[in-house]
């Protein structure tokens, strides 16, 4: 179905649908339910140099049309990802996958990205400089244009695969940060990561999350994500993976009109595990409804 294909940093995707990092594990839970080769690609769980247990529980809280998470980058570490997860993933997914990388220093980012860069299965490196749930990590790099440029340039110098930098919405000027990453050599931008939030339990008068704060995702954040994708599209020429609250084929089209070349789907997978497959199936019908013959034609279409 060529009308759904898009090109993300030089790699052709059968469709723009990309399950977002942290909501799709390494793919196998979903592969039990449907053939995940129908996806454009997916971004696997945020990987760090060393194994991480993550934050204490409760790590999850509900909110109107969304959820907070404070998982804190639980992952087995890059060596185990390469020796155990990637071989298992190969059994269920034969397309290039997006490797989501986190770190606590520039050296760690460079180390982890370089280790994954040489893996044949990896199509793109997605540099997560936006995790709000770990102290001193991730988000510290994502909140200033200078730091974002520094880590992007350092990783760029060491990796050959397309480099996508994932930005935090918890900033005042997203466009400036995106531009700094582009200038430092990024091949693409993905956004948004979760919005920092919290909940308090009325009965105990304590915060619901053990980590106090967590990241908000789900339909509640769609308008914020659209606005930030819109601003980023105006500021950069490299492709954008737009995400935040996307839950239907209509949302996918809206995200692309704002400027996204591909579309990430996060929390929605947790509530309806078939959602990505279903969105891919319903996209052609929704495109017909809105007179779209080819998805490529609508990227940034709302910018006039």
């Amino acid at each position: 179905m060529a009308r759904l294909t898009v090109n993300l940093c030089g790699i052709e995707l059968d469709n723009p649908i990309i399950p977002a990092s942290g909501t799709f594990g390494f793919g196998y839970e979903f592969a039990e339910l449907y053939d995940i080769n129908c996806l454009g690609t997916f971004s696997f769980k945020g990987t760090t140099k060393d194994p991480r247990y993550g934050n204490p529980t409760p790590r999850i809280a509900e909110s109107a049309s969304g959820m907070l998470n404070a998982v804190g980058l639980q992952n087995p570490g890059v060596e185990a990802v390469i020796s155990e997860e990637l071989p298992k993933m190969r059994q269920v997914f034969d397309k290039p996958v997006m490797a989501n990388v986190s770190g606590f220093s520039i050296d760690e980012y460079v180390y982890t990205a370089s280790r994954l860069d040489v893996e044949e299965q990896v199509g793109w490196i997605e540099l997560n400089i936006s995790c709000p749930n770990v102290d001193g990590g991730g988000v510290a790099f994502g909140t200033s244009p200078e730091m974002a440029a520094k880590v992007t340039a350092a990783v760029r110098a060491e990796v050959k695969k397309p480099l996508i930098v994932k930005l935090s919405p918890n900033v005042t000027n997203i466009a400036a940060i995106a531009k700094a990453c582009e200038d430092a050599g990024a091949d693409g931008i993905s956004l948004i990561n979760t919005l920092l939030g919290m909940r308090i339990d009325l009965k105990t008068r304590q915060t619901l999350l053990a980590n106090t704060t967590g990241g908000l995702s789900g339909p509640a954040i769609l308008p914020v994500a659209l606005r930030m994708v819109w601003e980023t599209y105006k500021a950069v020429k490299i492709p954008i993976v737009g995400m935040g609250g996307v839950s239907s084929s209509e949302d996918v089209i809206e995200m692309m009109l704002a400027g996204a070349t591909a579309v990430g789907i996060g929390a929605a997978n947790l509530i309806d595990p078939y959602i990505c497959r279903d969105i891919i199936q319903t996209l052609p019908e929704t495109m017909d409804k809105y007179g779209i013959s080819n998805l490529k034609d609508i990227i940034g279409g709302a910018h006039g």
């Binding site: 942290g22 594990g25 839970e29 790590r59 999850i60 809280a61 998982v71």
Partner: protein
């Protein structure tokens, strides 16, 4: 795991703030007592997890306590309404290691999964006893159902308004020897049973869940056998692996 639509057959109050709901749908992925289902409710973003209390062909029973707005909403649902369920979640209890005379210990909203477990153990020819603990007399449920199965059942209430006064562990002395322990209930109860019971056993835990099927890492706990997701490698842990967090 399977996602499918279930139709409500009955939804009735059986004790104070406690309801029994029977649902009909595709149950083929539910394989073991101790597993749970994750229910989508209109108006709520996250699904709500509930243990399978009983399974008869296509009919699934859950028992839920009203503790917040989701369970409040469930209590207003009427027969023939449909619900979207993820079924076949979690590892469930292993009945094979129970020995000849297993003891089931449940507290409040932890009692439901022990009912189906009791049926399975009895079907394997085991001699099953149970201690079911509640706060007070109007919260007691399923005593008659357990007894009808042939389970020798003791009830405790914290205020002594019914059965034995005290906690489930206070009833342990009323029992002859037992070979194994299966427990489900609030964490302080599980810890008390863990400390009091001399036998090995299996303990079912709760955690706040994002997905219920292993994708989000929201429900992880530490065990002596490595990190586990309560929704996938749990909710049932064997006694030997449990690490109690402060």
């Amino acid at each position: 795991m399977k996602e499918s639509i279930f139709r409500i057959l009955t939804n009735k109050q059986i004790a104070h703030d406690t309801y029994e709901m029977i649902l009909r749908g595709n149950t083929e992925h539910i394989t073991r007592p101790g597993q749970f289902v994750n229910i989508k409710l209109d108006g709520f973003y996250l699904r709500r997890p509930f243990s399978v209390c009983d399974l008869e062909g296509d009919d699934l029973t859950i028992i839920y306590k009203v503790v917040g707005s989701g369970t409040e909403k469930m209590s207003t649902l009427v027969p023939n309404e449909e619900l979207n369920l993820l079924t076949g979640l979690g590892n469930g209890y292993d009945t094979k290691s129970s020995g000849k005379a297993p003891l089931l210990i449940g507290g409040g909203a932890g009692v439901p999964p022990l009912y189906w477990l009791a049926k399975e153990l009895l079907a394997e020819g085991k001699q099953v006893s149970a201690i079911l603990g509640f706060n007070t007399s109007n919260e007691v449920f399923y005593e008659a159902q357990f007894k009808k199965l042939g389970v020798s059942t003791l009830i405790t209430t914290a205020d002594g308004s019914y059965g034995i006064q005290g906690f489930v562990t206070d009833a342990l002395t009323n029992l002859e020897s037992f070979s194994y322990t299966y427990a489900c209930g609030p964490e302080p109860m599980l810890k008390a049973v863990y400390d009091a019971a001399e036998t090995s056993g299996q303990y079912s835990f709760e955690e706040r869940m994002g997905c219920g099927f292993g994708a989000c890492m929201g429900c992880t706990c530490k065990t002596l056998y490595g990190d586990k997701r309560i929704c996938r490698e749990g909710p049932v842990l064997v006694k030997e692996e449990i690490i109690w967090q402060g």
